[in-house]
Amino acid sequence: MTDHKPYMKPYEEEIKTFSWDISKNELGYKDGDVINIGEYCTDRICRMGKGEKLALIWEGYTGEEKRYTFNDMRQLTNSIAKYLTELGIKPGERVCLFMDKVPELYFGFLGVLKMGAIVQPLFSAFGPESLLTRLQDAGTSAIFTQKKHLPKVRNILKDLPGLNHIIVVDDDGVKPLREKETAFNMDKAERVDSFDIYPSKAETPSVLHYTSGTTGKPKGAQHVHYSLISQYMTAKYVLDIKDDDIYWCTADPGWVTGTSYGIIGAWSNGATQCVLDAGFKSESWYKFIEKHKISMWYSAPTAIRALMKDGTETAKKFDLSSLRHLASVGEPLNAEAVIWSKEAFGIMFHDTFWQTETGCIVVSNYPGMKIKPGSMGKPFPGIEVTVVDLKTSVPIEKKGVVGMIAIKPGWPSMIRTYWNNEITYKSKFQNGWYLCGDRASIDEEGYFWFVGRDDDVINTGGHLVGPFEIESALLEHPAVAESAAIGKPDPINMEVVKAFITLKPGFDQTKMLELEIMNFVRKKLSALAMPQEIEFVDTLPKTRSGKIMRRVLRAQEWGEEIGDISTLENDM
């Protein structure tokens, strides 16, 4: 292995000298130049003489393995870009990726960007209704999917007149495809050595990631190709990815971590990365690390806590000595998990904080910096982060006081808008700050400490789920009269969805009905949105104007003070 001195200078030194120009210079980018993420992650790496270096080692749940070099990736992303162009897809159109973590998902992402369309990755576990909402909002023209997910697409196709191309990546010809459906087998496709890459500029739209809010439908956070400047640099400084590292980002590219650091950050740094397309099992994960000698591992608190549950002795059964740097994202990493990782792996997980809208890590614990277990760390150099007063949005000077996390606009990977929803986008900015919706405090040494969300959005397993979507789905069940969804504490997932339901006359509160309602939501939306617990109640707390007061239910569930209930209409 090469020198493992962190890329980033000691924090206090780095913040004095850092500028995004460092990233631009390293990437060979000057303001006004063409900048295409697809090109930077593939062709540029090959031009640097790394064409034969492994870019992707992929393993399926059966143990099947596929390996691709950067040159393979360059050609295959060209093949995808050419295929889409020949289908008639135009730059700026939205192309959805609705697949498990197969190689076609990763290369599809870059292929779409290479031909100038906007890539819209969606979590493959989404049910038809979640899928429909997001495809309708984006006005998606084409979707890549697998046979196993094709029925979900077919079920909603009648409501998507603009969806003209359904591209099946693993069609075996056994059953005939239907109108609008075409087969594309990437591994057997003609390798395209040269493709006229779309000359995108800094502000050309690149990625559309859907995220949930408290009210209304999910919002499409729209990013641009210039986000690369942040994603490259944060992957290098925070994840500390070195040329000889074997990197594993466990996130699914249906969510922003899986694209910002599972694709863009990793490959713009020329890293070899591993992908395991299988459900979670502690022993399988450890075996994967041991087998591929993974050295840099970026995971999530939910997974870390699940590993903790299986004990240090399970970890000790494997040779995990290749690991040299660990990082975590998705929800706050509790101090116990940080300390446990030292016991199990000999090194600590470094917590990182960011969100779909920020596009890159904004607060983090850095290699070489003292870790305070349980803390989010400090702002990334070049990004001004503070906490502001919840009412006035004025920065809080006093240490230890809780406020809203706020970022000074202008970092390269900042969201540019919400698709079709400029009003909500603008509402995120107050007093010259972008407001994250998360609350935290800052200690005397400048470390941030996460407190919680400032809204009703549920963070389950590191994924944000909107209560409104769940409640709307619940109301479609014939037995449900009223519903409220909140996050309840969970030792593994931080929060899980709990629903409070009043039933219509004629329905009894039975365990079977609870199960039926759980499955109803799971099939409509996704397993993430499925209530893990349902409590049947006679009435829900409401304001005098009839609005359900989720915060009252949440406070009861968390054992917190209920706060002001002067507007409460009824007693519980």
Binding site: F280, M518, R522, A527, M530
Partner: protein, 83 residues
């Protein structure tokens, strides 16, 4: 026990495969690691087993390994006294 085995297999196929998804699922098919039932959906499978067989499955026993195939689930149920 073979009747219970078939009931669970049918439940998994009906509840966790999309209509039109013709993947073969057998008693040994890895349903958790194979991505048919994810860790969040496992809760609904647990509730089904508890309701159907009138048992309580302790959280410590409701592991991805214990739920990874119909045969594994049967072994768990036997352990919990379901015959």
């Amino acid at each position: 026990m073979s009747e219970i085995k078939d009931t669970i297999l049918e439940y998994v196929k009906n509840e966790y495969l999309e209509e039109g998804d013709d993947r073969e699922v057998t008693y040994d098919t890895p349903i958790i690691s194979g991505g048919i039932v994810d860790s969040f959906s496992m809760v609904s499978l647990k509730v089904f087993l508890e309701t159907k067989y009138n048992i309580s499955i302790p959280d410590a026993k409701a592991s991805p390994e214990a739920f990874d195939s119909v045969n594994n689930i049967i072994a768990l149920l036997k352990e919990l006294g379901v015959e």
